[in-house]
Amino acid sequence: MKRNIYIGSSLLVLLVALGIGQGLLERRAAAQASNGLKVQVPRFEVDPSFPKPLPNHWYQGMSIGVSVDANDHVWIVHRPDTVNANEAAGDAKTGECCAKAPPILEFDQQGTLLRHWGGSDGDGYQWPSSNHGITIDYKGNVWIGGNGGGDGLVLKFTQDGKFLTMVGKKGVQVDSNSTEHFGQVAKIFVDKKENEAYIADGYGNKRVAVIDADTGKFKRYWGAYGNKPDDANLGRYNPEAPPAQQFRTPVHCAEMSNDRLLYVCDRVNDRIQVFTPDGKFVKEAWVSRKTLGDGSTWDIAFSNDPQQRFIYLADGHDEKVWILDRQSLEILTSFGDGGKMPGQFYAVHSIATDSKGNIYTTETYDGRRLQKFVYKGMQTVTKGEDQGTVWPRKTEH
């Protein structure tokens, strides 16, 4: 079933009476397509003091994963080897600052660094050549993938960094029909009900793969629309062409909602595809469909209400977080803009929420930050409104 997501009607419940949100009226021009419809959406403000500085002159590289654990601790994974010789002048002994931080970093709610580990092979496992994506599962274990050339594995550790499981291996070729290994995994989701791990696979392969979260045994996999995945080169994304019947690489996220729908980021195709847990295609939607290059749908997180009414979608090419209605997949609003100031983004790559409804983002390329956006309750905006940089309304000045 394909639904035309541009003509959803479920938003009616979100429409509000006229006359609300005067402070936003000047931005109506940014929401022309909405015909001035008002919608209620969560409001966020960046916390410019989060996180606290790292100790030891540690410097953070491309930051390509974020996850929140049951204690609302924020875990990120970054790439120390992307820290260049100037940034790591301490390591290079040409200056005082700085040194490469370990790739796995845990922060508390105040942004203080807690545990930190990872980066090298250990007994029974290989560290990916380019670690990518982090997930704290329902048992509290830490999963990572890897998108370096030949990375065909996912790894599971305890929060202290003790190795638990490796599925797949390094040094493999792209093969979206392999039941032995993966092809440059972007992200992992673990389903508590069935104890299954859903693998966004990945930068080489073009599929979602499902494995037993303890044994690593392959259980099923599928491609776009639930099709058998095919590794043929699709060429460049063309917004005018009929929708591709395969995922483009990277398949960049796979996240399951409370009502057991799996949302998959088909990044370069600028779309989200939704599946049942057994891989049956449900619906799809495009976000910023004209976006080329790296694509628009980098990562998603769900709002923390039981219904998960909203999807927060990180778009590292348009440099914003889109807020979508989860049922209709319609865009309600967005926040963020390009730049290096708090609340701005360069290559916002990963996104997660905590139990309080706050959002965390990490940025890759030369963004290299973890940012926190504090949930401030609901607000009324014109549908489609581009909120721009969301700073605290009451500053500490």
Binding site: D294, Y365, E396, H397
Partner: protein
């Protein structure tokens, strides 16, 4: 405010970064800063910024400028920007739109004279550890090397062209009376109506010109000696002090009429009289190699302190101006507020607030409130 001693060494800096300065550009513009290569404060305490513009943006930072259009983010902000002390954008102009002079491939260094005229230098250092940015798929197409920067420009505050010294694309040596080699810093003595040029990233001298006519007046090298362009061996922290400047990355005038020169890759400041007579020198972070430690300097309003932007060690050193002893520092490395990457420009307003500009992929201007400074 956030205490600015982020990840620092424990020295009390008594400074706070204002993480919400300057204010975002208008949302519909989708403007971003490129690598910032100059910051200055004018007589009204307005903050002037020059940056390298679209040429310094990575592919993914300039999606709407690509052919075909690739994303909604972003456009380079105009290359010259004027902010209020509160962080509002007051004016901006993009000199590339006009003709009659040679806008540099890499504008570098900005100064505002007492008449409110805006001076801009040109050129970049020869890369040593400067990074190659990563900007996503496709990469930037190879472009032919731009003409070598060898000019200093003077505009009125609205961007109207007034004067050019030197000629874009035509570099001259340290003995030239008409040209430069990557003159990346400028300072104006409005009383004497003279402009001091830090010349530069290619040459090894300070050169002084009439600020109205551009006529050459005098120049000098390290220790006030005749500058020479012969190749120097790499900087050796324990070696004898070099007899020549290695990189002249700043020139600044104190209120008491002294000329401060940043000899960046020699990790030192040299101080001169206005006639070029050498007075004293100081080494800052002597063991720093690579890009060097002394990128730019600014004075506290009471002239008691000297702030030194150190883009390699990622901090602003605080020196006692009289003794040139290092007495503290602000900042550490990183991409968060109060941290630095490639901090190469520094300026101070009349209230003692400190402004920094970051080049490379720093691409920010930051404001620090210094307590206890006049």
């Amino acid at each position: 405010m956030i205490a600015a001693q982020r990840g620092g060494s424990g020295q009390a800096s008594q400074s706070d970064v204002d993480p919400l300065w300057p204010k975002p550009f208008p949302v519909a513009k989708h403007w971003i800063l490129g690598s910032v290569t100059g910051v200055a404060v004018d007589a009204q305490d307005h903050v002037w910024v020059v940056h390298r513009g679209v040429d310094s943006l990575q592919t993914n930072e300039k999606g709407p400028t690509l052919e075909p259009w690739a994303s909604s983010c972003c456009f380079s902000a105009p290359q010259v920007l004027e902010f209020s002390a509160a962080g509002d954008l007051l004016a901006s102009w993009d000199p590339k739109d006009t003709k009659g002079y040679d806008w540099p491939a890499n504008p570098s260094g900005i100064a505002v004279d007492d008449k409110g005229n805006v001076w801009i230098g040109s050129g970049l250092p020869t890369p040593s550890l400067a990074p190659a940015g990563r900007g996503g798929r496709g990469g930037a197409p190879a472009t032919p090397a731009p003409p070598a920067d060898a000019q200093v420009l003077k505009f009125d505050k609205t961007g109207k062209f007034l004067l050019q010294i030197g000629k874009g694309g035509k570099t001259e040596g340290s003995d030239s009376q008409t040209g430069f080699n990557r003159p990346g810093s400028v300072a104006v003595d409005s009383t004497a109506n003279e402009v001091y040029v830090g010349d530069g990233f290619g040459n090894r001298r300070v050169a002084v010109f009439d600020a109205n006519t551009g006529a050459f007046k005098r120049s000098w090298g390290a220790y006030g000696e005749k500058p020479g362009d012969e190749a120097l061996p790499p900087y050796e922290p324990n070696g004898a002090p070099a007899k020549q400047f290695r990189t002249v990355s700043c020139v600044k005038l104190s209120k008491d009429g002294m000329v401060y020169v940043c000899d960046r890759q020699n990790d030192r400041i040299q101080v001169f009289q206005k006639d070029g007579k050498f007075v004293k020198e100081a080494v800052v972070s002597k063991t720093t190699t690579g890009d060097g430690s002394v990128w730019d300097v600014a004075f506290s309003p009471d002239q008691r302190l000297l702030y030194v932007a150190d883009g390699h060690d990622k901090k602003v050193w605080i020196l006692d101006r009289n003794s040139l002893a290092t007495i503290g520092s602000i900042g550490s490395g990183g991409r968060y507020p109060g941290q630095f990457y490639g901090v190469g420009s520094v300026a101070v307003d009349s209230k003692g607030n400190l402004y920094t500009g970051e080049t490379y992929e720093g691409k920010r201007v930051q404001k620090f409130l210094i307590r206890g400074s006049k």
